[in-house]
């Protein structure tokens, strides 16, 4: 992977000026490359990684396994595309194995997610069955630990 993308994946807020120094490039070259990645759709967005558990708000996330009947010609893509349009759906993947689609669905509470599953998801043409698991606690999200790490314990000066 391009080192520029590695840097942005670690910290999307890294300034083009800093990246330019790290990669021995001009600032303009870095900006142009980022713009190009955005235009190509390789960079799809920039988000903050939150530890939502620390916020004083009501929220739940469910992981839902879905079995579907693939359509002739459309395969899984058409139904997956329809499901992905619901704003409740945070992530959606086609899986190998015992089920077909894996969804991450967010809601205010259990009831809201249950309503989405029974009223929207399960009733879609092609959906054969669903299995819903609720998340209890987040330990790591997008490669980031949700537990605050100990401060640097190294000696302040060493040979």
């Amino acid at each position: 992977m391009d080192e520029l993308l590695t840097i942005l994946k670690n910290n999307a807020l890294e300034k083009p000026e800093t990246i330019a120094r790290m990669l021995n490039l001009s600032v303009d070259a870095v900006k142009a490359r980022i713009a190009d990645y955005e235009k190509q759709g390789i960079i799809r967005g920039y988000q903050a990684i939150l530890n939502v558990d620390q916020l004083d708000i009501s929220h739940v996330t469910a992981v839902i396994e879905v079995k579907v009947t693939p359509e002739r010609e459309g395969g899984f893509d058409r139904i997956a595309s329809r499901i992905s349009r619901y704003p409740e759906v945070q992530s959606l993947y086609l899986m190998s194995g015992a089920y077909d689609l894996l969804l991450f669905v967010a809601g205010k509470d259990l009831k809201e997610v249950a309503f989405f599953v029974s009223e929207k998801l399960a009733t879609l043409d092609g959906v054969v069955s669903t299995a819903t698991h609720f998340m209890l606690k987040t330990y790591k999200h997008h490669g980031v630990l949700m537990e605050t790490q100990d401060a640097d314990e190294r000696l302040q000066v060493s040979p």
Partner: protein
């Protein structure tokens, strides 16, 4: 009865220890450690944690009972892994059974190499600026250290001519460290070839500390041990502290022909017995699994190095681009301030710790060592403060 004239405890200390100065790093450490909330570019060890699979495996090994002594030489499985690794990465082949000794860090390996080979008064050629222990280690082994100074105006190169100028009939050992702490310099291939020829012609033993070999940024590392006719006169030292971020495990090794390995083994068996068993297990895990973490850490060090070099350039501080290790050694001599005063003032005014170049030898005067084994955020903030500080010095 003889009178017991009150003897000072100091009188018990051996002559060569009384005269030995404390490491310049320690003096500076004592000052820094009294201060809070500083950004330190003074740390000579990785900021990365030891790769998780290594830590996890160490715990597993402890649970399985890796708590006893190993053979003096170290676990054979580890020596086999090292033999394979050194063959592949350094193109030097050593037999696990007779030519590899596991030690408590490169620190012990260096001590063993010197003690096993030096007779009192034998001269050891070594280059400065260098790692703080070299000079004292030679003295501890009753050898005579002979300094060869490397200079900024030719990128801290070490050349045959520089060695020739200091060699005498008593010269026995040539001690090398590339990539270098504190300059980040590496040896050019043409210099390496010439230095090897010099060692062969003069019948010298070469002790080569290649602990930073993996952290080489602009090309491939070449070991002097891999050059023709060198293996029989070389003790190759390496360890896990730097590239694998395993400083606290205290694990290193020496590779050398059987006779030399056996000689080092004697000292090791009577003074250390063996390296820590759980650390040896950890090292097996570190060497035999994919080197993903080493590659990623190296890439990150390279980015930080680039950032530093550019920052020094903008501040008007000449700095040879470090080709390896994780130190930059910018020149501050033109600011009309001694290294130590620079470091003390910078610490006092801007709360950033850098190490005075003089800690690495007299010819380090005019330089400070900035380690980039710290986060990009720290580096950025430290460079902002350094630019401000340098500006204030220029104004006088």
């Amino acid at each position: 009865m003889p009178t017991n004239d009150s003897k000072s405890p100091r009188d018990f200390i051996a002559g060569h220890i009384v005269d030995m100065p404390r490491s310049g790093i320690r003096d500076f450490f004592d000052i820094v450690s009294t201060m809070k909330d500083i950004i330190s570019l003074g740390i000579g060890e990785p900021d990365f944690d030891t790769p998780w699979h290594v830590r996890e495996y160490t715990v597993f090994a402890l649970e399985r009972g890796a708590t006893h002594y190993t053979s003096n030489m170290g676990l054979l499985e580890l020596r086999r892994a090292i033999s394979k690794y050194v063959e592949k990465a350094f193109r030097a082949s050593y037999k696990p059974e007779t030519e590899i000794l596991i030690t408590v860090g490169v620190s012990e390996a260096l001590d063993l190499a010197l003690r096993a080979t030096l007779n009192p008064g034998d001269e050891v050629l070594y280059h400065e600026p260098c790692y703080v222990s070299y000079r004292s280690d030679v003295i501890l082994a009753h050898g005579t250290p002979v300094t060869v100074e490397t200079k900024r105006d030719n990128q801290f190169r070490l050349t045959r001519a520089m060695l020739e100028a200091k060699a005498t009939p008593r010269t026995k050992v040539l001690l090398l460290n590339f990539p270098n702490n504190p300059t980040g310099a590496i040896l050019r291939k043409e210099d390496l070839v010439e230095i090897a020829a010099f060692a062969r012609e003069r019948n010298l033993l070469v002790i080569t500390d290649e602990i930073y070999a993996e952290l080489t940024y602009d090309g491939e590392h070449t070991s002097i041990a891999s050059l023709p006719g060198m293996k029989e006169r070389t003790i190759f030292l390496h360890g896990f502290s730097k590239a694998w971020a395993m400083t606290g495990f205290r694990l290193g090794y020496a590779c050398a022909p059987p006779e030399l390995t056996e000689a080092m083994m004697k000292v090791h068996q009577y003074t250390m017995l063996c390296a820590p068993t759980m650390s040896q297990k950890a090292a097996i895990e570190a060497l035999t699994k994919p080197q993903t973490a080493v590659v990623e850490m190296t890439a990150e060090y390279r980015r930080r190095r680039n950032y530093l070099v550019k920052s020094f350039e903008e501040m008007g501080l000449p700095c040879t681009t470090p080709a390896g290790a994780f130190y930059a050694f910018p020149y501050i001599g033109h600011l009309g301030i001694a290294s130590k005063d620079f470091a003390l003032k910078f610490l006092d005014r801007e709360k950033v710790a850098v190490v005075p170049g003089t800690a690495f030898g007299a010819c380090g005067e005019g330089f400070v060592r900035c380690a980039y084994a710290t986060s990009m955020e720290n580096i950025q903030e430290a460079m902002r403060r350094m630019a401000r500080f340098v500006q204030s010095l220029k104004k006088g």
